[in-house]
């Protein structure tokens, strides 16, 4: 069995499930947003900040951010192991991806909770 340190789950199955599950969460969030914009075609600043002052909304948004990041990591990990055959190059690219994604995650916390 090929055990891979840089893969998110310990097995292919775990990665596969993570990708499907996060895809569902992201899709639900997108649907919610589409409905929201349907009801408020031109949200004012106060409408928008009311929406995000709700802690449920913040938490859900954060969970979706987390989903996007996990989803992106599994996908990009697969692409990088397919196309980057040189070990050092692959590791550097993978590290860059991890840092970018983690950076986005921290940034999303800052945006949502206005730290």
């Amino acid at each position: 069995m090929v055990k891979v340190v840089t893969s998110l789950g310990s097995t292919g199955l775990a990665d596969w499930i993570v990708q499907r599950f996060t895809a569902i969460l992201i899709a639900l969030y997108v649907i919610f947003m589409v409905v929201y914009f349907f009801i408020h075609p031109n949200p004012t600043y106060s409408e928008w900040s009311t929406l995000f002052s709700n802690n449920w909304m913040r938490t859900c948004t954060f969970v979706v951010f987390l989903s996007i990041i996990m989803h992106a990591w599994v996908g990009l990990w697969i692409v990088s192991t397919d196309y980057l055959k040189h070990l050092a190059v692959r590791l550097i690219v993978q590290m860059a991806i991890i840092f970018t994604l983690l950076g986005c995650l921290v940034w999303s916390i800052e945006i949502l909770w206005g730290l």
Partner: protein, 240 residues
């Protein structure tokens, strides 16, 4: 072949002899179909080889049973012996199966393909004491093997699969996975759990991206993608 059907074919063939050539090149042959004794592309190759005995290709059964003459015909993998000349345009380009090392001309080294097949452990495993005569199977249980056992290991599918091109040593490829499923659902095999555990890593099964190139090319009309989905389903049931 009647007069009306006579065609002039331009056949461009991949040539490479590692002992003599620095790099591969394409060689063009003109073939008059009136000289072809048969209806298949393999018969065209025989006509070419009469004039040019240096051309290398494999063949044996010449009826789609042995799986020796898989090649890339106008960009699509197939068996030369069951590819009808009438279905091809006058300009035909033939290359070896993609992604495997070329031994000579259209002959590829299949070792990696067979190594992946071996990893599927394509034989019955059963640790129960053997019955006096044989392990019986109901007609329904036997029917489950249909669409799986017919594979002739021609490698047309695996060598058309991008996931196999990129990771031929880690991803098992459609042909081996079809066989993995063939033994997973065989009622006479009871190593199902061990087989599933061995398959569950980041590559062996899960590199399949369901592009279905394999289904598109299989000369036996088999559906490896469906078999792979069935394995995935078993892994999910096992793992949750």
């Amino acid at each position: 072949m009647t007069e009306a059907q006579a065609r002039k074919l331009k056949v461009s063939v991949y040539r490479y002899n590692p002992d003599k050539d620095n790099k591969p090149y394409m060689q063009s042959y003109d073939v008059d179909t009136q000289l072809v004794n048969g209806q298949m592309l393999l018969d065209v190759l025989h006509v070419i080889r009469v004039d040019d005995p240096t051309l290398g290709f494999r063949q044996s059964c010449r009826e789609g049973v042995c799986g020796s003459d898989g090649m890339n015909i106008n960009g699509k993998n197939g068996l030369a012996c069951v590819t009808k000349i009438v279905d091809l345009p006058n300009k035909i380009t033939i290359r070896p199966l993609p992604g495997l090392p070329v031994v000579r001309d259209l002959i590829v080294d299949m070792s990696q393909f067979y190594r992946q097949y071996e990893k599927a452990e394509p034989y019955l495993q059963n640790d129960q004491p053997a019955p006096a005569k044989e392990r019986l199977q109901s007609p329904e249980e036997r029917a489950k093997l249909d669409g799986l056992y017919e594979c002739i290991l021609c490698a047309c599918c695996s060598t058309s699969c991008p996931s196999f091109w990129w990771n031929p040593d880690k991803f098992l490829g459609p042909a081996a996975l079809l066989q993995a499923e063939r033994f997973l659902i065989d009622s006479r095999d009871n190593a199902t759990e061990e087989r599933l555990t061995a398959l569950d890593d980041a590559y062996k099964v899960f590199r399949c991206r369901s592009i279905m190139n394999c289904v598109d090319v299989c000369p036996k009309g088999l559906n490896p993608t469906k078999a792979i989905a069935a394995i995935r389903e078993k892994l999910i049931q096992e793992g949750t």
